[in-house]
Amino acid sequence: MVMNFCTQSKPRPLPVIILIDTSGSMDRVISGEIVKTGRTVIEDGKEWNIVKGGMSAMMSLNKSLSKMLETFKDETIIGAEIQVSIITFGGDNAKIHTSLRAVKDILWEDMTASGLTPMGKAFNVARKLLEDKSKISSRAYTPAIVLISDGEPNDNWKEELKKLLNSERAKKADRMAMFIGDDSGEAMLKEFLADDSKSVFKADDADKIYEFFKFVTMSVTTRAQSRDLNKNKEAEVFFKRS
């Protein structure tokens, strides 16, 4: 076998881009016993009671996400290499918490929550990443984008979402979304999905957050193992399972 000289040395990538709300409200306790301290704080435009104990949405996300990455690392997948990028949005900006790379090369660092919810900025970062062929080549499988938020974005998210959904490459991504909380704020996550056949996953405790990441893990590994890479698009341009 002598073809090494003319072939790619890296597997075909399957990019997974995860957008995570790290605004102050993600520090809300969602599970476990708590003790009120009697103090309050204004964060993410609301007043919050400061408590001891319990598990916050952010802690639960850190735990579930790192577990998902470990599961990806353990999967032996024929035909693709899962690559992950994590984009967080909290405070004034969206930032790349983990740049797009093979999951085996990711060393997990916990995220922290604070400030407002600049979701539009996260859409902007995600769109630019999806449009950048030097980062996600046309050899890659159709990417997945996962959005996790407790809603109430404070910036021009609608305009940035429109740009994301109209972008020739970005609009093709397979989108999944989880709403954290028991409010009715998931309507905007439904707009992100832009697909009536899909629903927003709702989580109001740590177990449900974990369950969502199990769903994402299964969805991504199943796509990578190519039983049905894209069954939701029946346009003139067909999507192939290899």
Partner: protein
């Protein structure tokens, strides 16, 4: 101008289909008519139920369509493609729905009158080796690796990539490959790749087959799961 050709090729079932106990959904075919030579490769779209049948019928439809087209004295390649699409639809519809049998198709037809025609619907690659360089006659992908046009997905002839040119002495050969091969090739190594594949023609047919089989079944790109097919038209 050379009018003598050697044709060879090989199709290898990918790891994914081996693991899932599914058939190879690629196919290839070559045929020497009294008026020219034809090589075809086709890649059945795995998301479709009967794509294995679709790719085989793409080869059969190419053979029939070229025959019919030549006998009716047409020289318009668009006519040939329309006949091919119609014949493919008729062939697959006998057993299944065309929407469930989608297949990409790439072919090269070298005519004894010195004309060379290549056509492609969907992904994969057609390389022309001209001695000092190799030209890629296919288009760069716009979207992602699992999107393609195919027979059964479109009737629009404009979606085909068509090339017609004279067979000149500098043309050493044409290589057709499905995306399982094409997507893993380094763009700056097309010449070296095509030279290597064309040089196999110096071997006896059995050895040619063995070399291609070994190369495709032991493909160096890690975790490469696709079916892989190469078809070659070598000018001698």
């Amino acid at each position: 101008m050379s009018s003598k050709f050697i044709m060879y090729g090989y199709s290898s079932k990918g790891e994914m289909h081996k693991k899932n106990n599914l058939p190879n959904q690629d196919a290839w075919f070559s045929y020497k008519y009294f008026f020219g030579s034809l090589v075809v490769v086709a890649d059945g779209m795995g998301s479709k139920k009967f794509s294995e049948f679709g790719s085989k019928m793409a080869c059969k439809a190419s053979y029939d369509a070229v025959n019919y087209w030549y006998k009716n004295k047409s020289s318009n390649v668009r006519h040939l493609l329309m006949i091919l699409q119609t014949m493919w639809t008729s062939l697959v519809s006998v057993k299944y729905s065309d929407k469930e049998s989608c297949s990409t198709i790439l072919f090269a037809l070298a005519l004894n009158n010195g004309k060379l025609i290549t056509a492609q619907l969907g992904d994969g690659i057609i390389l022309v080796n001209r001695g000092k360089y190799a030209s890629n006659l296919s288009k760069e992908r716009e979207g992602f690796g699992n999107e393609t046009y195919a027979l059964g997905s479109t009737w629009n002839i404009d979606k085909w990539i068509i090339n017609e040119f004279d067979i000149t002495d500098d043309i050493k050969g044409i290589i057709l490959a499905t995306d399982g091969v094409a997507d893993d090739l380094l763009k700056d190594k097309y010449l070296e790749f095509s030279e290597y594949i064309l040089n196999i023609s110096d071997e006896f047919p059995q050895k040619r087959w063995r070399i291609l089989k070994d190369e495709l079944e032991n493909w160096p790109t890690p975790f490469s799961g696709d079916d892989k097919t190469i078809g070659v038209l070598k000018f001698i």
